[in-house]
């Protein structure tokens, strides 16, 4: 090394990395080759991602049911009009037990939400009042319920996805009937109505933004003002409405925000109670008042599933005229034990009832049955039954939904007996309803089979490409894969569309879009297979597969994958997945702990360790004195460090798993700790403060192992991370104050939005742009300042890849922290420790290329998914974080928030799976291509793991399609598995491989090349 000027670092660098032009040219051409290979790799992995997405689309198309909507509109008016005007007040999430008197001695009694509505039982004989339990049909989301409430039909599950953009309802419905019969409909409240019924509502209607669940009052006050203006005020008599509809959201939003057990619930309920009383006082004799809930809420205040508490809403019919309702015997209306045995009606029964009372035709698609109490006399009852059964029969005849001849016959028989005796008509409706329910749960088996087949094919390809074929060969083969995939996809597209247009086969595809999707998928599969089978034969691949599974750790990995995939065979295991995944991860920690403590002799492990030692011996020749080589391949210190990291992994896993939002099915065996009260409590905020202090320190500790805490690292970890966490803490502290202090009156909306946007902008844009500049974590350390022996050490040299890559992970971590509630942030802090400990463990055991690495990471992602307050159910989605960045739903931001919140751990893992290769990877040992190939191989393993889970969920959800719990347990799990796979695919292909790895490897190789 030539003498150097100590003061000038750049010149030091230059003199160290200086070499001949020949070398430079060689290096340059190698880098150029790397660039090309990298692009091809992105293309290859991208096409596999597309294949998987197509598979998921096909399966979802076949499995998530849809119902044919008929455009027919009913026209006959047969019933006599009882009321000419009607006031309908929908109180969102008005659960049944809120409305009945509850004995305060009852152990389920809660003063926050019981006995606040006295309006429903204070009216005696001078008027008619009827309170009923109102059973919703699942799914209990507001859009589905509104459709059910107005059409009298059963919306299917697929609609649940379109809750965010309800489009105008096409079916015949009661609002349309009102409009067609010249009734003026005034509406105020939830803007879902406006989206569904816009053409039928009067222009004076006032819709309000509905999905901002943190806003408790705007909608309610708007509705009350509107009613004030058109009904309550003395001057309002002249208002020319016939139907006045209000939809209040306050109680629902309190539920979402705080849960039912909160003092604001009492306030909102009392407000609604007063409001109803005022309405009762103002309506005239000719007006019908209907107050109802569209669904209930569970113990956490959420809804969307089909538990009893979510399904049971209340319905109250009121008229100033006495004796309008013919109530049953009082034993039907038993309010003891929260009204368990109270008489109930179904939500779809409301439509025929209102239609009959207002003298409107019953909407064409209705399959509900009129509430019997509304018939004042026996003749009324008889005529109501006949009208309804006629309408249902019309619907049956026109829609031809019943194909089964035996069912048809049975229905015909019931119809004939109903003609003679109208009380038999109810049986006809019941049978028809049951048949419809069955039918609308019919699946498209061709699409399901296609989806499963395509996903299986993608799994096989992933295994072959990323695992079986040696990564170095794949590096050469990518240039064959890419043209072959492109050409064959094109050819198969042409063939398929030709066949489809001429022969209309395969028929299940329906239109050209699905046809080209299938064609592309088949093109990708055959393109890959042709290239693979050109070089390898099936038996070699099989042998390689068995051989790959021949060592201890790979078998452990395979065991974990298999067990995790088998969880979906039973509803119990699926319910308890959170605990089971934590158990697996802790088991893995114990296994590595055992490994470090006892160092059992395993042939392959020993070989690997010895080989690694040989490598070190070779590379370190003459440079520094070797530590004395002991008998065992791992030194005593390394074993101690490894054991320490294993303990950290186990402890963090156990600690994190105490944070849980319980599934409803877990019942008494689970104590929910991820509650709103806990999230905004002082101790959790204090813990968050501790996290701010400790997270940078912990990460710094891991960096210091290789003395990588240099140059960029202190800026990123010591400054960016710390300050962003602090600002983030301020955000969540404000949220906590808002939630815990009653009557918190400062307007902090702007402040909150500013803070959240600063963090999101910084972490997603600024920090990533900064990362693109290439923040190196190395430092030249020059000792021996005397002139003779000058020597420079590069601090952080051994971990130059890993330390820089982890800075990118930190960027994403910051963003994910913003979208997670305080307790989840603590869990994410633990995740960082788990992640880095895992990396250290696998580095010490030399398992960087083993299957166990990505599998352990995948397990970690799942464990953290559950411990950040999630479950694989629809009500457990934290919709409220969608409003962190914006006040109302705005396309990318709301969705970004929910994605970052739900899939945060998976995104982090999909990024850091590359670290398995890159962590503690010194430069100049491996060629850039080799490095990239290994990164892809590890990414591929993570994808294989998730694909196996997704495939297993596909198979089992199909198998359990008639299971009682399918919509509650298996279907949400399948949707979660699919979405996870898609998110991981996107992150791996676009960020990990395309953006990060390529840039990083190029940069490091530009600096350190030989």
């Amino acid at each position: 090394m030539s003498p150097i000027d100590v003061s000038d670092e750049t010149r030091v660098k230059k003199s160290i990395f200086n070499s001949s032009i020949e070398d430079k040219r060689l290096h340059w051409s190698r880098l150029q080759r790397f660039k090309t290979t990298h692009r091809l790799y992105i293309y290859l992995m991208g096409s596999l991602a597309i294949l998987q997405i197509i598979a998921i689309m096909f399966f979802a198309k076949g499995f998530l049911l849809t119902r044919n909507v008929l455009d027919d509109v009913a026209t006959d008016v047969l019933s006599e009009q009882k009321f000419s005007k009607c006031v309908i007040l929908v109180i969102d999430a008005l659960r049944f037990d809120f409305t009945i008197p509850v004995n305060s001695a009852d152990h389920k009694y809660n003063p926050n939400y019981h006995n606040n509505f006295d309006v429903f039982h204070t009216y005696g004989n001078e008027s008619s009042s009827l309170l009923l339990k109102f059973l919703a049909d699942p799914p209990t989301t507001t859009l589905q319920r509104l459709k059910g409430l107005t059409t009298g039909s059963l919306p299917t599950f697929i609609d649940a996805g379109s809750n965010f953009d309800g489009s105008v309802i096409e079916e015949d419905n009661i609002i349309k009937q009102m409009y067609l019969h010249n009734k003026t409909v005034y509406f105020a409240g939830d803007d879902t109505w406006d989206a569904l019924f816009k053409p039928f509502l009067s222009p004076s209607s006032k819709p309000f933004e509905s999905l901002n669940v943190w806003d408790l009052d705007t909608v309610d006050n708007g509705v009350i003002d509107f009613f004030e203006q058109h009904l309550l005020a003395d001057a309002a008599k002249s208002s020319n409405w016939d139907i006045l509809i209000g939809h209040m959201l306050g109680i629902d939003h309190v539920g979402h925000k705080y849960g039912p057990d909160h003092f604001t619930m009492k306030e909102k309920q009392l407000q609604a109670n007063d409001f109803i009383k005022q309405i009762c006082g103002k309506i005239d004799d000719d007006t019908l008042l209907v107050v109802m809930g569209d669904h209930g809420m569970d113990h956490t205040g959420n809804h969307g599933g089909d538990s009893r508490a979510e399904l049971e809403a209340a319905l109250w019919l009121y008229s100033k005229q006495p004796k309008m309702w013919r109530n049953f015997d009082s034993s039907y209306y038993n309010v003891t034990s929260l009204g368990e045995s109270y008489r109930h009606v179904h939500q779809i029964d409301l439509v025929p009832s209102i239609a009959l009372l207002l003298g409107l035709p019953i909407p064409f698609n209705n399959i509900g049955w009129p509430i019997e109490e509304i018939a004042r006399t026996g003749e009324d009852l008889d005529s109501y039954r006949r009208i309804t059964v006629n309408q249902i029969r019309d619907y049956n005849e026109v829609s031809k939904v019943i194909n089964d001849p035996r069912k048809k016959e049975e229905l015909e028989e019931l119809w004939n007996s109903a003609l003679l005796d109208s009380s038999k008509a109810y049986e006809y409706q019941q049978l028809f309803l049951e048949s419809c329910k069955d039918l609308w749960a019919r699946f498209d088996y061709s699409s399901i089979a296609t989806g499963i087949a395509l996903l299986t094919a993608s799994l096989v390809l992933l295994i072959i490409i990323t695992k079986l074929i040696p990564s170095i060969v794949i590096g050469q083969m990518v240039s064959e894969f890419v043209p072959s995939i492109t050409i064959i996809s094109l050819i198969s597209n042409v063939c398929f569309s030709g066949i489809f247009y001429v022969l209309h086969q395969p028929a299940f595809l329906g239109n050209w879009f699905w046809c080209s999707l299938l064609a592309t998928a088949i093109g990708i599969i055959s393109g890959c297979l042709i290239t693979i089978l050109d070089r390898y034969n099936a038996s070699w691949l099989c042998r390689k597969f068995v051989e790959d599974l021949s060592d201890y750790w790979s078998r452990i990995a395979a065991l974990f994958i298999t067990l995790h995939a088998l969880l979906f065979t039973s509803n119990s295991f699926t319910i308890w997945e959170d605990r089971i995944v934590g158990f697996f991860l802790a088991t893995l920690g114990l296994l590595t702990l055992y490994e470090f403590t006892f160092l059992p002799k395993r042939r392959l492990t020993t070989a690997l360790l010895a080989a690694a030692m040989g490598e070190r011996r070779n590379s370190a020749q003459g440079k520094q004195p070797l530590e004395s080589i002991s008998e065992s391949p791992l030194g005593r210190f390394a074993r101690l460090v490894g054991a320490y990291h294993s303990v950290v992994l186990i402890m963090c896993t156990r600690l994190a798993s105490t944070i849980t939002i319980c599934r409803e099915e877990q019942g008494e065996y689970c104590q929910a700790t991820f509650t709103t009260a806990n999230n905004y409590s002082y101790w959790s905020l204090l813990l968050c403060l501790v996290v701010i202090a400790f997270l940078p320190t912990c990460v710094k500790g891991y960096y210091n192992v290789c003395s990588s805490y240099q140059a960029a690292a202190p800026i990123w970890i010591g400054q960016f991370l710390r300050w962003a966490l602090l600002v983030n803490f301020v955000y969540w502290a404000i949220c906590a104050l808002e939630n815990t202090i009653p009557g918190f009156s400062w307007d902090v909306k702007i402040l909150k939005l500013t803070i959240s946007r600063i963090i999101a902008g910084f972490s997603l844009i600024a920090a990533n742009v900064g990362w693109m500049m290439g923040p190196l974590c190395v430092k030249l350390n020059i000792h021996n300042n005397d002139v003779k022996s000058q020597q420079a050490t590069i601090l952080g040299y051994t971990n130059v890849y890993g330390s820089q890559f982890f800075l990118l992970v930190i960027n994403f971590l910051l963003c994910i922290m913003l979208f997670n509630k305080p307790l989840a942030q603590i869990s994410l802090f633990l995740m960082c420790n788990q992640l880095l400990s895992l990396l250290e463990i696998f580095d010490l055991l030399k398992l960087k290329e083993n299957l166990i690495g990505p599998v352990a990471m995948g397990l970690l992602a799942y464990q953290q998914f559950f411990s950040t307050g999630h479950q694989a159910t629809i009500p457990a989605v934290q919709w409220d974080v969608g409003f962190v960045l914006t006040e109302r739903i705005t396309f990318p931001f709301t969705h970004l928030g929910i994605t970052m919140n739900t899939f945060g751990p998976h995104i982090l893992i999909a990024l850091s799976v590359a670290l398995l290769t890159l962590w503690k990877q010194p430069p100049t040992v491996l060629k850039p291509q080799t490095l990239l190939a290994r990164v892809v191989s590890n990414c591929g393993m993570l994808l294989i793991y998730n694909t196996v889970l997704c495939l297993s969920s596909f198979v089992w959800v199909t198998h359990f399609r008639r299971h009682l719990m399918v919509w509650k347990i298996f279907c949400p799990r399948f949707m979660f598995a699919s979405l996870t796979l898609i998110v991981i695919q996107v992150v791996i292909v676009l960020v990990t491989i395309a953006f990060a790895s390529g840039r990083l490897i190029r940069q490091i190789n530009n600096l350190f090349w030989k």
Binding site: P470, S471, I472, V473, E547, S550, S570, N571, S572, F573, I575, W576, R579, I580, G582, F583, A586, T587, L590, F598, K601, R603, L604, T606, A607, L608, A610, A611, A612, M613, G614, E615, N618, E631, I650, M651, R654, S657, T658, E849, L926, T930, A933, R934
Partner: protein, 218 residues
């Protein structure tokens, strides 16, 4: 990566991108050097080590005792394990080419050590996901069962100058038994035997039975 096949130093083409793995091989003489200066410890391969009493105790636990009384079972287990050790296990354990006689003074010491072992065992069970504060007594009873099942191995370790290596597998067998038996806990069958810690106790007994029976052959 096929390392096994390329054990002989002849020319071969490697598909592995990491040459270091194939370049240096573990020295084959290492294995012999270990056993040279220490006396052999092993358990004789005989049917006599099969702990039949565990099956009997299990039968009592599942069929005869009311409400799966794990405490009584624990009391019963102690004499049975001591008897098993003196009559069966110790008579099959070879240390330094001979079978050592049972040292009666060592038995209470080992029982004490077993009791002390329950604390780390309890910790491990909790770390693997047992409830932390609730049901602590039940968890401890489970830990006590596990440790007592390992009592013969503990004694042998004490007796054979703390050479852990050969007796590890008995503890592993018990642990694996417990681990596998966790399968039944989440199932929603609502059976009384699904209650904590019954399935794990049964799993530990079965694991111990299998471990002590086939342990010598491994």
């Amino acid at each position: 990566m096929s390392v096994k096949k390329r054990a002989t130093p002849k020319k071969s083409v490697s598909f592995s991108d990491d040459e270091t793995i194939t370049r240096s091989r573990p020295s084959s003489d290492r294995k012999h050097s270990v056993s040279r200066d220490s006396p052999p410890i092993y358990v004789k391969k005989t049917i006599r080590t099969a702990p039949l009493h565990l099956l009997g105790l299990l039968y009592y636990y599942l069929k005869l005792s009311d409400n799966f009384d794990a405490v009584t079972l624990l009391y019963l287990l102690v004499p049975f394990q001591i008897a098993y050790l003196s009559l069966q296990f110790n008579k099959s354990t070879v240390y330094g080419h001979k079978i050592l006689r049972l040292r009666t003074s060592l038995v209470p010491i080992c029982l004490g050590a077993t009791l002390a072992l329950t604390i780390p065992c309890l910790l491990i069970i909790i770390l693997l996901g047992a409830p932390i504060a609730m049901l602590l007594k039940e968890t401890w009873i489970l830990a006590a069962h596990c440790c007592l099942l390992g009592f013969p191995a503990v004694y042998s370790i004490f007796n054979c100058n703390f050479k852990v290596g050969n007796f590890k597998k008995y503890f592993i067998a018990i642990a694996v038994g417990c681990w596998i038996s966790c399968v039944v806990i989440p199932l929603d069958w609502d059976r009384s035997w699904q209650e904590w810690p019954t399935p794990l106790v049964v799993g530990a007994y079965l694991g111990a039975f299998v471990g002590y029976s086939i342990g010598p052959y491994l």
